[in-house]
């Protein structure tokens, strides 16, 4: 009995010690290892692995280890712990909203450290990247990261339903008025019981505090811009989303949401689209493979978002890579970033992942040009980048301001609050946040 006990204790201790010790024996035969944290969706991971093998083939003495952290929320929580305990990765995804804290903690490099260094890139080369993306990579005007890919938002629509409703399937809605008109025409109540069997256009409405709250605000932004407005004043002295353009945009959303009784509709809009219960929605290029998989037996297309009273606009997004000061091989990490932003790598990555390239000149690569011609759905997203706009920088409180906007959207669409009133209340709360955390 005693012997068994001792044996068990010994075994437990042994395995604990093994798992505690860092695997230092794994000699990489002279290779430098760099660790990269990301939260790509599961369907992108195979593409990422292929991208990494391409990078490693071009840089035989670097080994790039990608580590997947599910959801962006978890990623930032893990980054905090890692920075505190000195185990930060070499490279990580990073969103501008978190830069205040990370710069404050002196955790990440300024990109100029590398760009202007010995292995740097020219200014001209840097500005081949879409300015909107460079802006999102910066905090207080200083570049702290570089974009890895771009995304924007387009309209997906069911061409068969357009035909059925007597609309031209090659002429999706061009203006807000047409959007409303088409939505009404496409919405269907077959048995006249007051419940719609089919919805014309999906307007998202998610709990403001939930993980999809930001996604809803992100989809709302282009409507403010289309009406000629901005979320924030250029000098960041106050928010402006409660001015007339913002109110116009929310009024449109509220009208569309309530007239189609979307409060009774599922939030799984892609499944609703595939099962022909929805005619039009907004979505990003990353979901193209999903539609190819789930849409059966009907004809669908993509189009630019309709233009608003003032102009045409779509929102731009992407993922941004930062290099951490705790990295032991920052120069190797920079090699990856430098390679990543090159047109060749961008073309490969875009084709593999269905994200958009971060620079327009990728189209000059014959292989990519051919890809665009062969993939008209994807091409819509690429061409729409000409209208892609970045939100004006919000150096402080960006996350909470988005939360307040989300709450205003929810209160107005679901809670039937007057759009102006809801946005005004959100603005009052947001205006208190426009300074560093230490002064709030």
């Amino acid at each position: 009995m005693k012997k068994v006990f001792i044996l068990i204790v010994a075994a437990v201790t042994f395995f604990t010690l093994i798992s505690c010790s860092k695997d230092k024996n794994k000699e990489l035969s002279g290779k430098t290892e760099i660790v990269f944290w990301h939260s790509f969706v599961a369907s992108t991971i195979p593409a990422l692995n292929e991208l990494i093998s391409k990078f490693e083939a071009a840089h035989p003495n670097i080994k790039l280890t990608a580590q997947y952290i599910p959801t962006g929320d978890a990623l930032i929580q893990k980054l905090i712990t890692a920075v505190q305990s000195g185990t930060a990765p070499d490279i990580s995804w990073l969103h501008a909203d978190y830069m205040e804290d990370l710069v404050d903690a002196d955790a990440i490099y300024e990109m100029n450290h590398f760009i202007k260094g010995a292995d740097g890139i020219s200014d001209e080369e840097l500005h081949k990247i879409y300015p909107a993306l460079l802006q999102y990579s910066s905090w207080k005007g200083v570049l702290y990261s570089l974009p890895m890919e771009a995304t924007d938002l387009a309209l997906i629509y069911n061409k068969d339903m357009f035909r059925e409703a007597g609309l031209d399937p090659e002429r999706p809605p061009q203006t807000w008025e047409e959007l409303k008109e088409y939505s009404a025409k496409l919405t269907l109540d077959k048995n006249n019981d007051g419940n719609f069997e089919r919805i014309g256009f999906f307007i998202p409405n998610y709990p403001a505090a939930g993980p999809l709250g930001n996604w809803m605000v992100w989809q709302f932004l282009p409507y403010i811009w289309q009406a000629g407005g901005y979320v924030i004043a250029e000098d960041q002295s106050k928010v402006t989303f409660n001015e007339e353009p913002g109110v116009k945009a929310l009024t449109l959303w509220k009208e569309l949401y309530q007239s189609q009784k979307l409060n009774m509709f599922t939030n799984d809009y892609d499944i609703a689209f595939a099962s022909q219960r929805l005619a039009m929605a907004m979505d990003g290029p990353w979901n193209l493979p999903r539609y190819e998989e789930i849409v059966k037996d009907f004809d669908y297309g993509f189009a630019f978002l309709p233009s608003g009273p003032e102009k045409r606009a779509t929102v731009v997004g992407g993922e941004y890579l930062a290099i951490f000061k705790q990295s032991k091989n920052p120069d190797a990490a920079w090699k990856f970033l430098k390679w990543m932003i090159s047109p060749e790598a961008q073309a490969e990555w875009s084709i593999l992942s269905k994200y958009l390239p971060i620079r327009k000149d990728v189209v000059e690569i014959p292989k990519y040009k051919k890809y665009l011609e062969e993939h008209p759905h994807f091409k819509v997203f690429f061409e729409q980048m000409d209208y892609a706009q970045a939100q004006r920088p919000i150096d402080f409180g960006g996350l909470q301001i988005a939360r307040h906007i989300a709450q205003a959207l929810e209160e107005s669409m679901l809670g039937n609050k007057d759009p102006k009133k809801a946005l005004d209340e959100a603005a009052v709360k947001s205006n208190l946040l426009l300074k560093p955390k230490s002064q709030r």
């Binding site: 920075v83 804290d101 939930g210 409060n263 599922t266 209160e411 679901l414």
Partner: protein
């Protein structure tokens, strides 16, 4: 030190007389090995429970974003902000709504099921397993399934309701219905464990009480009311306290099912703590909310302990 000696130490410290003398003589040298043996669980307890408990109390008087190495002392600011924060009161109300909704239904249902399963009925074991299964399912996985069940267009619940002519309800997107939906799932998820506890309590009641009552001509209801209920009191009190504590701390199913929406109608205290701590990185404020939750739990538990003492 041999295991025997270790055993002696405990026996001697619990027995009176000579043991005490022995303990006084050798106390110091014996207590260290005892701690050595306890150390694996003690270390975990100290690092993951005791330290955070005190550290978060300290943090509730600080302002800290988790990133920076220093925090600023702000006195009672976090608590003052809390009591003037209208959202906090809303969240507190939601939490009490959830608790008052779940606990009574949960207890009544689990007692009822335990009582039925205590009788000899066919398929008892299968039924018991079925009722207990939700307890061991991961709450996140379960909530994802329930989200599908509640879906207004594809969900089976609305489909079933349509048979009896009830208009479809968008459970998770209706500020009036969402909390009810969470409560239903909460009860489903947790009543199994209480059922097992009640079943154990029921089996501990000696059969001859019932026999004696039958001889005196007591009916089924009278037996239940006059024998089962009073003799189950310790179990009932235990379950009441534990379910209250668990309900006031509900988080995972709310996070997955409704994310606190719609219109904040299902946002509960722990969700609010999570939001401030890990989304806005206001650790001080989040700690202050946690301590208010602790105070509420403490008061509730004390009141229940008082009642318990009266009963015995």
């Amino acid at each position: 030190m041999s295991l025997n000696k270790f055993k002696n130490y405990f026996i001697s410290s619990y027995s009176s007389g000579g043991g005490v003398e022995k303990k006084q003589r050798k106390g110091k040298s014996d207590i260290l090995p005892a701690f050595a043996f306890l150390s694996p669980s003690l270390i975990l307890f100290v690092i993951f429970i005791l330290f955070p408990v005190f550290f978060s109390f300290y943090l509730s008087f600080q302002k800290w974003n988790m990133f920076s190495s220093e925090s600023t002392f702000v006195g009672l600011d976090n608590y003052i902000r809390l009591f003037s924060d209208p959202e906090f009161w809303q969240v507190l109300k939601n939490t009490l709504y959830y608790t008052l909704g779940t606990v009574p239904i949960n207890m009544a249902l689990s007692l009822f099921v335990a009582y039925l399963l205590n009788k000899q009925i066919a398929g008892k074991k299968i039924l018991r397993t079925m009722f207990f299964a939700p307890v061991v399912i991961s709450p996140v996985a379960a909530a994802v399934i329930w989200r599908w069940l509640y879906d207004p267009n594809f969900g089976i619940i609305n489909y079933a309701l349509s048979w009896v002519g009830i208009e479809s309800i968008n459970w998770l997107n209706d500020p009036d219905a969402a909390m009810i939906a969470v409560i239903i799932m909460g009860v489903w998820k947790t009543f199994g464990i209480n059922m097992v506890l009640f079943a154990a309590g029921l089996q501990a009641i000696p059969e001859h009480y019932y026999e004696a009552a039958e001889i005196d001509g007591a009916g089924r209801l009278s037996k239940f009311w006059n024998i089962t209920i009073p003799l189950l009191t310790p179990t009932t009190m235990f379950i009441l306290i534990m379910s209250m504590i668990a309900s006031l701390q509900v988080f995972d199913i709310v996070y997955v099912l409704t994310s606190g929406g719609p219109l904040g109608s299902t946002k509960v205290l722990v969700f609010y703590v999570y939001e401030h701590a890990f989304k806005f990185f206001e650790m001080g404020y989040a700690s202050a909310i946690s301590y208010v939750l602790f105070a509420i739990l403490f008061v509730f538990t004390m009141i229940q302990f008082k009642f318990m003492k009266v009963k015995f």
